[in-house]
């Protein structure tokens, strides 16, 4: 019988920045052995940080146990514990951090604090095969256009106010839609949009490589309340205008940096219309288009584990007493030691 090779190393990653609690286990070679996600679905309204944290605390044990089981790895075979240290919602981050600290001290292994945004890019590179991309990271909390330059993932463009995913979610809730597990609000908007035909004018706000969605959302909600247009047409227009803005700034970053890959990630990356728009732009610039598969584009533990491995291999670990969460830890504050150039 084959015995597990004793030198194989594993990292366990815990993600808990917002509404998902997730545990991923990866081998140091980058093989995903487990990636278990448990989403907190509010009964109504958006994410309540305290309620989300309560959910995380409740499911933590179960999710960890399931991850170990799926990976076929014993706790003693974990060599590093990584957790998302920020940015995100305080109560949620602290719940994940507590679990990570407890696990690391119990197992007597090093702890690594991972930046959530860096992790989204790194897992994208791992699973979608990008090497040095311009990344569009779009989710409920983030809207960032980034590319690697001199030791860091520089932020070339970002939202000046709310994230695009947040904008779509708020609009959907205003329209009376309810998200559920497996069917997020964004997917509902996408479905409705596919049946829309008429483009209703909405503010198109691009400032160089930055964007703004707050005035756009207000205008869309006002149109909704007036009740003159069908919800299908409104969703269609919402997507067309918002995604054209995202695609334009990504193209501007691509033209500016002259990179040859475009990586699309984050929860909104699942949208087929956005994918097709970015693919078209990548093609025009002879760049390769890579989209991160859903289970790795959403918030997930695997991305934290993988980034933890990269950091650990470059001797970045975090002493317990310094493992405070960082609610406002920007992507471009993180030295990225593992990327050359």
């Amino acid at each position: 019988m084959l015995k597990r090779c004793s030198v194989a190393s594993h990292c366990l990653g815990i993600e808990s920045t917002a509404d998902d609690f997730s545990v991923g286990i990866l081998s140091f070679e980058g093989k995903v052995l487990a990636n278990v996600i448990s989403a907190y679905v509010p009964e109504k309204g958006g994410i309540h940080p305290r309620e989300a944290a309560r959910h995380h605390a409740e499911v933590a044990g179960k999710v960890l146990a399931e991850a170990f089981q799926r990976a076929g790895v014993k706790p003693q075979e974990i060599d590093v514990v990584a957790f998302s240290q920020g940015p995100g919602l305080g109560p949620c981050l602290r719940t994940g951090a507590t679990a990570a600290r407890a696990l690391a001290s119990y197992l007597g292994v090093p702890l690594v604090g991972v930046n959530h945004c860096v992790a989204h890019i790194e897992i994208g590179k791992l699973v979608a095969g990008a090497v040095d991309p311009v990344t569009l990271y779009v989710s409920g909390g983030n809207t960032i256009v980034s590319a690697f330059e001199a030791g860091r993932y520089r932020v070339f463009g970002e939202t000046l106010d709310i994230a695009v995913g947040n904008c779509l979610d708020v609009f959907a809730r205003e329209a009376g839609l309810h998200g559920r597990e497996g069917m997020p609000l964004g997917a509902m908007v996408e479905q409705l949009a596919s049946r829309g035909q008429t483009l209703i004018p909405l503010p198109y706000t691009v400032k160089g490589m930055d964007l703004s969605f707050s005035g756009f959302l207000t205008a869309a909600v006002q149109l909704l309340r007036k009740g003159k247009h069908s919800l299908e047409d409104l969703c269609f227009s919402l997507q067309e205008v918002a995604f054209s803005m995202l695609t334009e700034v990504t193209e501007r970053a691509l033209a500016h940096t002259e990179k040859s890959e475009v990586l699309l990630t984050g929860g909104v990356a699942a949208n087929k219309r956005l994918q097709s728009m970015l693919e078209s732009v990548a093609e025009e610039h002879n760049a390769r288009f890579c989209v991160v598969p859903k289970q790795y584009a959403l918030d997930n533990g695997a991305m934290i584990a993988w980034t933890g491995i990269l950091a650990y291999q470059h001797h970045v670990t975090l002493p317990l007493e310094k493992s405070f969460v960082k609610l406002k830890w920007r992507l471009d504050e993180v030295p990225v030691l593992w990327v050359g150039g």
């Binding site: 520089r154 070339f156 400032k207 160089g208 930055d210 695609t247 500016h256 078209s280 732009v281």
Partner: protein, 210 residues
């Protein structure tokens, strides 16, 4: 001859009635639905030519426009000999770098005083000519406004460009821009704009100090 493929337009260097000109063509984007695509290209072609003219009134060097073709969403304009500030800024001696940034600040001040917001103040859109003039190009995203908010967003973008593209000298470059800006718009206005920039930054995601 295609010399630059930008995000929203292609630039061609052409011979046009015996002149070397830049033809800026806003080509249709496949990713946009036709109605939105047409509207954006048309609006930006008109705005760009208007604002290039307005900038001249303000005393900011811009290319001379020879022809505007709204049907083809094409502008024919003077070819500016020189180098993009983006390419040379980091390699200048510190003194000259600061001087150049102060001058850029002055030009931005003149635009703002005249009610023009550039909306894409990047070092790629500034050309340093062999005679040492700085010429502003690409007014496609420009708008008319005298509001503090618009001025703040305009300069905030400049700050961000320094941080992403000229990160080694970001602080000193931006300070020099503001110094030049203040010379033109006055200390109290520039102070208000600076305050606004702080407010805009705090509005963004994950900013310490909020």
């Amino acid at each position: 001859m295609l010399i630059r493929k930008g995000a929203e337009a292609n630039l061609y260097l052409e011979d046009w009635h015996g002149r070397r000109v830049i033809m800026k063509r806003r080509l249709s984007k496949k990713y946009r639905v036709p109605k939105l695509d047409k509207e954006i290209r048309f609006r930006r072609t008109i705005h760009e030519s208007q604002h290039i003219h307005k900038a001249k009134e303000a005393g900011v060097p811009t290319p001379t426009i020879f022809m505007v073709d709204t049907a083809e969403t094409t502008i024919v304009m003077e070819f500016i000999e020189g180098k993009q500030v983006k390419l040379i800024l980091d390699d200048l001696p510190p003194e000259q770098r600061q001087q150049l940034c102060r001058h850029i600040g002055e030009l931005i001040g003149r635009l703002h005083n005249h009610g023009v917001i550039h909306s894409d103040l990047t070092t790629s859109n500034m050309i340093l000519t062999p005679e040492g003039r700085v010429v502003f190009v690409d007014f496609g995203l420009s708008e008319r406004s005298v509001e503090l908010e618009a001025r703040g967003v305009d300069l905030h973008l400049m700050k961000r460009v320094f941080q992403s593209t000229h990160f080694r000298y970001a602080g000193e470059c931006f300070d020099a821009v503001i110094e030049g800006y203040a010379r033109v718009v006055g200390g109290s206005v520039s102070g208000e704009v600076l305050e606004k920039i702080g407010e805009i930054e705090r509005r963004g995601r994950y900013v310490s100090g909020r």
